[in-house]
């Protein structure tokens, strides 16, 4: 599900506390269900346990104390490795592609080459599409008459094509936007304080 | 090197589209007309001095000076005096030779028809692997075929002309001598020459191609060329009059040189005129477009792409026609005014018939020139189909489009004819006055007045004919305005 890597990406621009991470995640992935605070803190706990994140202090400006987390060196490495590995071109399971692409777009200034990520993803997709096409046009009579397989392949092929078209648009959007700047953690208003 | 076989050349050169067929027919017509004019001048030149054929005997005195002529109407001749008398023949020969000019102008226009489409076709052929030599061969073959066809038609046309002007009219009024057998050899030679000329024209002219790209302004180059021609003509004339040249040669050469100089002047002037008119109307139209007269502006901007040189050639012919008309008018008016000097009615008939003959030839030339201009218009309608259709789509109806075409036609034709008439008539009237200073007075103003009237009449006549031609082209305008033309090919 790569939820850990997404949290690491959210910490990439600077130390944040839990509420900020949830807010940023929901802003980055508006199509997904809003992240629950329980999940945020559970994930952060796991990351700290694995050494990918650390607690750097508490932030108490204008309200109750909140723990501030930051990404570690090993966490950064883990994130970049995840970005470098293209999402499997599974066609209908597109969420990982969206996650990787959005993260790559936001992570441009922090060592991730978004263009390279998108290119690698395109390559993986094209190779898979090539496999699917060769299978359905192969000379093997048994294979080529299997209508169900051909239809399934065609469905996958067309969805991969749709993914690629979206990737092209994302790449265009990337080139059009100004370079991202790191944002400091922002104070949360009192009345929206959730119960951890 | 060209690998294209003869079959292939024939395949690619044969006219298939409507524009190509029109071009082929127009080239053939121009070639035929040129052939007829040359055959005519050859036939007249071949008359010689033998009184048996001409019916004219030149009586010369002891010192070789021509004393008079004795005309006898022999059945073998019956030719009109201008053609029969050897002394007067050069004038008629010159007229016959000058008749070649309007047909050359027609040929120049004909070669331009459909140029844009041909260029695109050639670009496609280059993609498929045609070499420049292949393209030249195809171009030459298409124009040579049309020129040959026209040249072959010149013989029957000349025969028809002879029947019309050399058999039907009564004795003494015939204009075309009976064709001699050697004329057939001349005709064969003409066929070869015209075919060669057609091939050369096709191969060379097609290269530069685009009839739609506006030619960079070389107004000053043309004006300079005109000035040089006039100066050269003047120098030649003075040298001819001052040098020790025998009188008959002098008499023949002077008008020829004068005419050549006028010709160059006319051609240059009209090219300049045509370009200026095109540019000026464009500016007016752009102003109108900015103020909201949308539809006509669209069309006129498209018409800006008209090829000035071809239009200028036809215009030059009209200038010469005007010159002829002006000279005839001035001459006729002077003659009428000073009847007592000239006296005998037979002289009046003689000169009068000469004037009429000159005007007839001028009318033929004018007709051919107007056909050339109409051809230019037709071609433009075909090439600017999308612009015309767009204009029609914006609400400009067919009658208004026809009016625009008439105006475009008149824009070149009327100034040319009027300018030529004024220049020719006034120059001639001036010459008459210069010859006889003592008789300057109200009498000298009559020819001038007559010339002015003639200029107005000529302008009105040309305008009327332009409108008529545009009306005749209504069918083509309607086809060009059809909204299917907006469909992307």
């Amino acid at each position: 599900m790569a939820i850990g890597e997404v949290h690491l990406a959210l910490l990439l621009s600077g130390p944040r506390h839990g509420y900020d991470i949830k807010r940023a995640h929901d802003a980055w992935f508006p199509a997904e269900r809003p992240l629950a605070f329980g999940q945020v803190y559970a994930t952060l706990g796991r990351l700290v346990r694995d050494g990918h994140a650390e607690v750097v202090g508490t932030h108490s400006e204008g309200g109750p104390e909140r723990t501030v987390y930051a990404i570690t060196g090993s966490g950064r490495e883990r994130l970049l490795a995840w970005l470098d590995d293209p999402a499997p071109p599974a066609g209908t399971a597109g969420e990982e592609i969206i996650r990787k692409t959005v993260v790559a777009l936001h992570a441009t200034t922090s060592g991730a080459d978004a263009e390279r990520v998108l290119s690698a993803q395109r390559a993986a997709h094209l190779r898979r599409m090539r496999q699917l096409q060769r299978r359905s046009t192969s000379a093997d009579p048994e294979r080529s008459t299997d209508l169900a397989v051909r239809l399934a392949d065609r469905h996958a092929l067309l969805h991969l094509d749709a993914d690629l078209r979206w990737l092209e648009e994302a790449a265009e959007a990337l080139r059009a936007q100004p370079p991202a700047t790191p944002t400091p953690p922002s104070p949360t208003p009192d009345d929206q304080e959730p119960q951890p | 090197m060209s690998a294209l076989a003869r079959d292939g050349v024939r395949l690619l050169a044969s006219p298939r589209s409507a524009a190509d067929r029109l071009r082929s027919r127009a080239t053939a017509a121009a070639s035929a007309g040129t052939g007829v004019a040359l055959l005519l001048s050859a036939a007249i030149a071949g008359l010689g001095d033998d009184p048996a054929t001409t019916g004219v005997e030149v009586l010369t005195g002891a010192d070789g000076v021509v004393v008079g002529t004795s005309t006898s109407l022999s059945p073998a001749s019956g030719l009109v005096a201008f053609v029969a008398q050897p002394g007067l023949r050069p004038g008629v020969q010159l007229a016959a030779l000058l008749l070649v000019l309007p047909f050359v102008a027609l040929a120049v226009q004909a070669l331009r028809v459909g140029a844009v489409a041909r260029q695109q076709r050639e670009a496609t052929l280059v993609v498929v692997g045609a070499s420049p030599r292949d393209l030249r061969r195809v171009r030459a073959a298409s124009t040579a075929a049309a020129a040959a066809r026209g040249a072959l038609w010149a013989a029957p046309a000349h025969l028809a002309l002879w029947l019309l002007l050399g058999v039907v009219p009564p004795l003494g009024a015939r204009l075309v001598p009976a064709p001699e057998p050697w004329l057939a050899l001349v005709w064969l030679l003409l066929v070869i020459l015209l075919t060669g000329a057609g091939a050369a024209a096709g191969a060379l002219l097609g290269r530069r191609g685009s009839a739609s790209r506006p030619v960079p302004s070389s107004r000053w180059a043309w004006a300079g060329a005109a000035g040089a021609a006039v100066c050269a003509g003047g120098v030649l004339m003075t040298s001819v009059t001052t040098l020790d040249v025998p009188r008959p040669v002098q008499a023949a050469l002077t008008p020829v040189l004068l005419l050549v100089a006028l010709l160059c002047l006319a051609a240059c002037a009209v090219v300049v005129l045509a370009r200026a008119a095109v540019r000026c109307s464009t500016r007016r139209v752009e102003r109108a477009a900015r103020s909201g007269a949308g539809a006509e502006a669209v069309l006129a901007v498209a018409q800006r792409r008209a090829n000035p040189v071809a239009v200028g050639a036809s215009g030059a012919v009209l200038v010469l026609v005007g010159v002829c008309l002006g000279v005839c008018t001035a001459f006729g008016a002077a003659m009428v005014v000073s009847r007592d000097v000239y006296g005998s009615s037979s002289e009046v008939v003689f000169y009068g018939s000469g004037v009429v003959l000159a005007c007839a030839v001028a009318a033929v030339a004018a007709a051919v020139a107007l056909v050339s201009l109409a051809l230019a218009l037709t071609d433009h309608l075909a090439q600017a189909r999308r612009a015309v259709a767009a204009t029609a789509a914006l609400g400009c109806d067919v009658p208004r489009l026809v009016e625009v075409q008439a105006r475009a036609l008149a824009a070149t034709a009327v100034p040319s004819a009027v300018a030529g008439t004024l220049v020719g008539g006034l120059c001639y009237a001036g010459l008459l006055t210069a010859v006889d200073w003592t008789s300057v007075g109200p009498r000298t103003l009559v020819p001038v007045g007559a010339v002015l009237v003639a200029a107005v009449v000529a302008g009105a006549a040309v305008r009327l004919v332009s409108c008529a031609v545009a009306e005749l082209l209504t069918g083509r305008v309607r086809r060009a305005a059809a909204l299917e033309n907006l469909r992307t090919p």
Binding site: A123 | A3, L12, A130
Partner: protein, 239 residues
Amino acid sequence: MSPDQPSPPDVLAEPTHPLLRLAGISHAHGRTPALHDVDLEVGAGTAVAVTGASGSGKSTLLHVAAGLLAPDAGTVELLGHDLAALDDAERAQLRRRDVGIVLQYGQLVPDLPLLDGVALPLLLDGAALGPAREASRAALAGVGLSAAEDAVPAELSGGQAQLAAVARALVAQPHLVLADEPVASLDPAGAALALDLLWGVVARGGALVLVTHDNVLAARCDREVRLAHGGVQHDLDLR
């Protein structure tokens, strides 16, 4: 290269010799730069897809490769011949014998019936009308246009005209085919037919360079060269 000599057959005998080689190609249309320092090598038996957004220079690259456009800088080698060293007639000979070109628009001679139009490369090479028409008939049958032999391009649909253009590009059995969106206006059946014919060139040891927007078509090729703003963004081997 003498214009009357046949093209060197040894080019295909050495499979490592690239059929097309572009080196350092830069070109600008007037003041607008179109290509900047593009390199491309296409060997025998490969199909290469050239992709990129509109305005990335794909069509310009194809025109340069076909010898229709002389680049401002760089060398173009078609089947081992440096195009800059050839004259117009020799380049024309290459185009009609060894290179098949399929363009995006307006490529059929408007007034010739299909039978003659498709036979043009053979006719221009000096073939007699009869044999050329026979070959053309076969080519038209291959794309399913036998019934339209006598039609002129204006009477055809966009798809039919495109199929005829593909047939013409293949009639002289070229070693290299350069195609710009060859199946964009074709329905799936027509596209499949045309693509099978085009891949036939690859199967015979030739090469295919396809400029396309279509990702599915690009994925069918062995390599993808992606252009962006006139430069090569990546050159992927998809095998």
